[in-house]
Structure formats: C-alpha cells, structure tokens
C-alpha cells in the first residue's frame, strides 16, 4: 500500500464525491423546504442521463448541448411531479 496508491484512491474519491454531492444537495434542498426525503432523486439522475443519450443519438447534438437540453427536460418533469403529486400530499407526515 504505497503512497501513490493512496493518492490515486484519494483523487478518485474526491472526484466521485463531487459528483455524488449534486444529488445529495438536491435531496437536502427538498428536505429542508418540503420536509420529506425525496426518494426519486436517483431516478431523476437516470432520467437526465437517458435524456442526454437520447438527444445525442436522435438529434446529433454535441455533448454540452445534450446535457443542457436534458437538464431542461428533467427540470420540467420534476416541476410537473411536484405540481401533480407532491403538492396534494403537502400536509401529511413524512412517510
């Protein structure tokens, strides 16, 4: 277990930690304001990735444009899910 291996693991950990921080941050925002753990955050991740893949395959856009489009689509789905599902359940207990 040399220092070089530990440094490699640390770098990988920091990079993956920055990526996992994004869904953790979005779950914290929803938890703070709406007071329930948002268990579909992982599926918003999947939806964003698939929307970007779909944009790249079907429309042939470069990756950054596909990412922005998929962010817009997932934002609309998320706001729609709030409007249709979570607003009606607003007063209930946490589960």
């Amino acid at each position: 277990m040399t220092w070089i291996d530990i440094a490699n693991l640390l770098i990988n950990g920091v990079i993956e930690g920055l990526v996992v921080a994004l869904p953790a941050l979005s779950m914290t925002l929803v938890m703070g304001v709406n007071r329930f753990p948002h268990a579909a955050t992982g599926d918003f991740l999947t939806l964003g990735a698939y929307a970007a893949v779909g944009c790249q395959l079907l429309l042939g856009t470069p990756l950054w444009l596909a990412a922005l489009l998929s962010a817009a689509v997932t934002a609309v789905v998320s706001a729609g899910s709030y409007q249709l599902i979570f607003r009606k359940l607003a007063g209930r207990p946490m589960v």
Binding site: E16, T28, P37, A49, A67, S78, S81
Partner: protein
C-alpha cells in the same frame, strides 16, 4: 415519502420501456490518462470534477446571494412565518423543483460520463446520496457537500481493505453509524432548522 418511491418506479419503468435494458454510453473521444510518475489522472475525470464544482458554486451563489435563495431559506426555516411575512409559496416551490430537476440531471449526465448508462444507475447512487445528506446534517447544504466528499473518500479508501465489490456497503455502514452516534450529522441540528 412513499409517493416518491412510487414515482421512482414509474420513471424507471418508463425508461426501460422506451429505451430497453441495454447499457449505453456517451459519445466521447478516447483519451489516455496523464501519468505523473504513478499518479494517474484522466482528463475526462478532471472535466467532470470541474463541471460538478461549477454547478455546486452556482447553486450556492443562488442560495446565499440572491433574494430567491433568501426566500427559500426562510421557507425552510419556518413555513408559517414565511407566509406571514409575505413570501408567496407557489412560484417559489415551482422554481425550487425546477432547480432540483436541473441539478439532478447534470449529476446524472456526469455519472453517465464516468460510467455506463443503464436504468438501475440512479437507484444505485440513491443510498450514498442519502447517507451523505444524513452525514452532513439534514437541512444544511454545505453539510451535504461535505458529507458527500467524506463519504466517497471513505468509500475509496476502504477498497484495499474490503475489496471493490463492497464499496456500497460502506455507505450503509456510515449511515447506521451516524444515526446511532450523532443523529444530527456534522453540521446539522436535531430539528429541521438550518
């Protein structure tokens, strides 16, 4: 909430209905890792980290410097007092959920760039995200980022001890430990007040 779990099942089923169960990848150019005498860094990984950092900075600036963020923090503190001081909840909530969707989508694209894209991908990262939130203190955004960094560093550092297939087990273990020893997390308090 259980409704969120149901929504997750719905989204996952719709995705695998339309796109099938095969794994897909993004179209990215093939690069070699830079080698600094043993320390290997992939340029793609650096781009991923940079974009994640930029996204986090944007969200934090939005939360702490703009009036939208101030209203959001007020509603998070106490919804009744916020309504009494004249903050309209409806547009605020809509904007919040739009932001949540956009941030999650960028996170998903970055994860897909790092690995493959398959329907179970998000479900696998839900528990580490939740453990990061609990570790950093529920209701504290800075705590969530700190918790995510600490959790993933701990996950990677446990690989020589436990083997690469047990990385996910560590996030469960950390979740259990935090809930047993210090339920408030690092930067949180027992109630949901920032």
């Amino acid at each position: 909430m259980l409704a969120a779990i149901g929504l997750g099942f719905l989204i996952r089923s719709l995705i695998s209905f339309f796109a099938g169960h095969d794994q897909r990848t993004f179209d990215m150019p093939l690069v070699r890792a830079w080698n600094f005498g043993g320390i290997r860094i992939l340029p793609t990984d650096l781009v991923i980290a940079g974009i994640a950092l930029a996204c986090l900075l944007v969200v934090f600036v939005l939360l702490y410097q703009t009036s939208f963020g101030r209203q959001l923090r007020a509603v998070a503190d106490s919804a009744d007092l916020a309504r009494a001081s004249g903050i309209r909840a409806k547009g605020l909530m809509l904007a919040l959920w739009l932001l949540v969707g956009a941030v999650s989508a960028i996170g998903g694209v970055l994860l897909g760039m790092k690995a493959i894209v398959m329907p179970e991908m998000g479900w696998e990262f839900l528990i580490p995200a939740f453990a990061a939130m609990v570790l950093g203190g529920i209701g504290s955004p800075v705590g969530a980022v700190l918790g995510a960094l600490l959790l993933c560093i701990a996950q990677e550092l446990s690989v020589p001890l436990l083997g690469p297939s047990y990385k996910l087990v560590l996030s469960f273990a950390v979740l259990a430990l935090v809930l047993l020893l210090r339920p408030a997390g690092i930067l949180g308090r027992i109630q949901l007040v920032r």
